[in-house]
């Protein structure tokens, strides 16, 4: 017989607490009489746009073939050049044989477009990705510099790390944009990416330093005793071992970076957070939008966590 699962009362308690929280929230919302507009949300992911279709030359309408909801309009120019344009049947503005001038409207075509939430998510993702790459190199270099024998390198690395870790990211973004951005005439994207990369780089540096220092001294000595240079030893012996150890905190740092990137919305970069704010100014669906925005961040970060988990297991073969 299977041993009875003794944890069931605790699982029950967990469910009860979650239900309790949900019910409490529900009750509180009831009291303030909020009008939910969930139906407005999907259009901020995807929407059908009416794209104007114009005639690109002076000419006339040849034939119009209706095929269900769409109509295929053949346009003929004065030089007998033919062009076929698809529009919605209902939006058709021309009839067969009609003379048209360049730029006259033929009709409208419906196209599926990414809504502001998707565009914002995309911005957040590439902003974080580029910042992560810079942060990784910066952190790797700084982390190694922090354990270097060279006092100048070590000093520079320490000052950088301390300055970044001792000040709030929001202030760093302001400095990057309003001070450095003005002085060096940088675009807001460059400032945003730069600030995020510098910020994460300092934390990556500390992770790398700890990782390198966690590798037993004997590894360095064995490698050097074979005649390998300090650089070769770092690259072939120390960093690969350190990388395995620091993968969890490192990936945590990059996941944090995705969340921290929401702060660049203050310098008017239209990332996911800024998109959310913009949507709210036009719809007042405050609760729905912030909940959806949070869910989108959560989705991205949990997918990444799973990926890292998978990588860790792959790397565990030599243990």
């Amino acid at each position: 017989m299977k041993a009875r699962d003794k944890t069931w009362p605790w699982k029950l308690l967990l469910v009860a607490i979650l239900l309790g929280v949900a019910a409490g929230t529900w009750g509180a919302i009831k009291k303030i009489d909020y009008k939910w507009r969930w139906y407005r949300v999907p259009e901020y992911f995807f929407y059908l746009a009416d794209d104007v279709q114009k005639i690109p030359f002076d000419g006339k309408v040849g034939s119009i073939v209706k095929d269900g909801a769409t109509a295929r309009v053949t346009l003929i120019s004065e030089t007998s050049e033919e062009r076929v344009i698809k529009v919605e049947s209902e939006s058709l503005k021309v009839s067969e044989g009609e003379d048209l001038f360049e730029g006259d409207i033929v009709g409208f075509e419906k196209n599926l477009r990414l809504g502001p939430l998707m565009v914002g998510l995309w911005t957040t993702l590439w902003l974080s990705a580029i910042s992560s790459v810079f942060a990784l190199f910066l952190g790797l270099f700084t982390g190694i510099a922090r354990v270097s024998k060279n006092i100048t390198l070590r000093g520079l690395a320490m000052i950088y790390v301390e300055c970044i870790r001792g000040t709030p990211l929001l202030v760093q973004i302001f400095i990057a944009y309003f001070f450095l951005g003005t002085v060096f005439n940088l675009s807001r994207n460059v400032c945003g990416i730069g600030a995020l990369a510098l910020f994460a780089g300092a934390y990556v540096a500390e992770i790398v330093r700890a990782g390198v220092q966690s590798i037993p001294k004997g590894q360095m000595e064995a490698s050097r005793s074979l005649g390998m240079t300090a650089f070769q030893t770092m690259r072939d012996i120390i960093l690969p071992q350190a990388f395995k150890k620091i993968l969890p905190p490192l990936s945590g740092q990059f996941i944090s970076l995705i969340k921290d990137s929401s702060l660049v919305s203050v310098i008017a970069i239209t990332d996911l957070t800024k998109s959310g704010r913009e949507i709210i100014t036009s719809t007042f669906a405050t609760f729905e939008v912030w909940l959806v925005v949070a869910a989108m961040y959560l989705l991205v970060t949990s997918v990444l966590s799973q990926l890292v988990y998978y990588m860790e297991r792959r790397l565990a073969v030599s243990d």
Partner: protein, 244 residues
């Protein structure tokens, strides 16, 4: 082959200054096997580490095949490639297979092709008696096997001299023999060796010369017969009484 002249190594630690090696002079000829013994903290490891530049020494000269380590212009990496070292804790690279442990430095330092390096590695694994472990990771090997891989790794560089720092001290007793056998074979083949060990049997059997160190100094030098049967110095007598 190796000449140490008045080598001094001073550690300036928190608890004051330690003269770990205090004026050691000796010469090791090609093919000679020298065993260094002495009580804990007598500076044996430190002296050995000076010979391949893992420690820089404070005073004196160490000359290997005409190259002076004290000379600032000496390329220490070149010297190390000629001086193999085997550590008490094996120090194999845990993220690399046994074969990769043996080929890495061959490719990087000796610039051998992968194929040549692997052939050499396989031959050496056979020599140390574990040809079947080439594709294993070090963590899957017993201590004795790991130390034999470590010896093979050092040999793969075709060193002119091999240094051993208590190669059997971290091993379970039943594995000491297999490592000592490999070392004895090396000695028979004419390898120049400096061995720090507490294995007096090994010293007696293989050493051409025994150096007894205490408090950073060479206290007594002699052939094994002389040293083990009839040491002159009081400290050596005391030490032998404790270990034998």
């Amino acid at each position: 082959m190796i000449k140490a002249e008045n080598v001094v190594k001073i550690f300036a630690g928190r608890s004051g200054v330690v003269r770990a090696v205090d004026g050691v002079s000796t010469e090791v000829a090609r093919g000679e096997v020298v065993v260094v013994i002495g009580p804990s903290g007598s500076g044996k490891s430190t002296f050995l580490r000076c010979i391949n530049g893992l420690e820089t020494f404070t005073e004196g000269h160490i000359i290997i095949d005409g190259v002076d380590l004290a000379d600032k212009k000496t390329n220490i990496n070149k010297v190390r490639a000629e001086v193999g070292m085997v550590f008490q804790q094996f120090n194999l690279f845990p993220h690399k297979t046994v074969l990769e442990n043996l080929t890495l430095a061959q490719c990087r330092v000796r610039k051998r092709s992968k194929k040549v390096a692997e052939e050499k590695a396989q031959a050496l694994l056979k020599k140390v008696g574990i040809p079947e472990k080439a594709t294993e990771y070090p963590s899957r090997l017993s201590g004795g096997q790991q130390q034999r891989v470590a010896i093979a790794r050092a040999l793969a560089m075709d060193p002119k001299v091999m240094l051993f720092d208590e190669p059997t001290s971290a091993l379970d007793p039943e594995m000491v023999g297999e490592v000592l056998d490999v070392m004895k074979q090396l000695a028979r083949e004419g390898m120049t060796m400096i061995v720090v060990t507490h294995e007096m049997g090994f010293a007696r059997e293989v050493a051409d010369r025994v150096i007894f160190m205490d408090e950073g100094k060479v206290v007594e030098v002699g052939t094994p017969e002389h040293f083990f049967t009839n040491p002159k110095e009081e400290r050596a007598k005391l030490f032998l009484k404790q270990v034998l």
